[in-house]
Symmetry: C2
Subunit: 247 residues, 2 copies
């Protein structure tokens, strides 16, 4: 199986990391739209336009599947991408909803969703979770976490002050949905803030659950081929991929 | 006189504010490339391409002057814009260099330059200041200030932690060049950190100095016409302009 992974920037590499750990694909083709990142503050029509351009790009590769690693794109443009593509397209939002549903047996669980402005405004997670009978939901845009991760401030005073800024009015949740691919990189600090009894839902792990739920995998590929593309500065993307993914 | 003001986003409104205070123009046409902001992390060729597109857009208006309010564009694409435009094009970097030169009589003054990654990498301020015989220069990219301003965190714990993060290894300077149009909005906190004896150089004020140095203004216009354009969500830009500029 040959899979394409699409993200607005580098954050989707956290999804690639999970794919590599589970060795589900023979070839992984990553495309980051680094020239136009971030998508999280853009409007719906722009996001859809860029997402369809990504589908067109992937048509060069005869893919078996496209994974949308970007929450913002998954929230706004998944059905448009599915219409344009000649292969299945799955996204991290449906994956996150499934993973939350699997993790929280109690439908009264208190679920806290964080993401970019665009993802939170879309209410995509809330709609998905409500369809699965969850009702105790609270969503909040936490856009500053993105540049903090891009500056590699995965711990320390600025991150802690930012966590306090966003979370101080939040009741301790049973689960936090990390609704942006950047956020797994600060999951330790978020876990520490809320303490034991709060589960974190990570897009990369959630995608694996969705893949195993939806597709049959007859074999694994211990050394998948990796190809990285970026709309700007692909060298920088490849360097970060090397560092994060150890490849 | 009819002037065009170009910025990658909303930050250039701080320059418009200075223009309004000095009533130098009959009509101000602002264009913010909000669909593709931020430029500060993009590469040189992309910045030049976008800047030339802005010049093409301004050709619709028979302008007398274009002011590049974005430091990143001024640092990388000013001469390319000057070649493409049919009117003079001036930028905040040359303005900041002039304003610093006027403010600091002593050429041994200790000058600290802050800006986006792209602006600092360009060394545009340093090259300009060295030509004016300053040599005691220190430049540092402070990219996190941009999203903090966009989140309107003009004071408080996160901003103070970020200031400490960037400035704790910096010797108290005689002047700080606010080399990004977002930074005047956090100038109070920066002033407070360094205390008395440190001057702040603000792009908007610097542009006024450069205009008065370079052009003759025979009259002022108490109620200039304002037009705001954006490559995405112009309504949001107009709303922020109303709020910041009191128009």
């Amino acid at each position: 199986m040959r899979v394409g992974v699409f993200d607005s920037g580098i954050g989707g590499l956290t999804v690639v990391k999970s794919l590599l750990e589970h060795q589900l694909f023979e070839e992984i083709i990553y495309f980051g739209d680094t020239a136009r990142v971030p998508y999280g503050s853009k409007d719906k029509n722009t996001i859809i336009r860029y997402a369809i351009e990504a589908v067109e790009f992937f048509k060069n590769f005869e893919l078996d599947l496209i994974i949308v690693a970007c929450n913002t794109v998954s929230a706004y443009a998944l059905s448009e991408m599915q219409e344009s593509a000649d292969c299945p397209v799955i996204g991290v939002v449906e994956a996150g909803v499934l993973a939350t549903t699997n993790a929280m047996k109690n439908r009264d669980a208190n679920i806290f969703i964080i993401g970019t402005n665009a993802t939170i405004t879309s209410k995509a997670y809330e709609n998905g979770l409500r369809s699965n009978e969850f009702s105790n939901l609270y969503a909040k845009a936490t856009p500053l976490f993105v540049p903090l991760v891009e500056e590699r401030l995965f711990s320390g005073e600025i991150l802690n002050a930012t966590i306090k800024h966003y979370f101080s009015d939040v009741t301790k949740p049973d689960a936090v949905i990390l609704g942006c691919t950047h956020f797994p990189l600060i999951s330790d600090a978020i876990s520490e803030y809320f303490g034991e009894g709060t589960s974190l839902i990570h897009s990369g792990d959630a995608i694996i659950e969705l893949l195993e739920h939806r597709f049959d995998f007859y074999k694994t590929y211990p050394t998948p081929q990796l190809k990285f593309f970026a709309s700007e500065n692909p060298e920088a993307l490849r360097k970060i991929a090397k560092e994060w993914l150890n490849v």
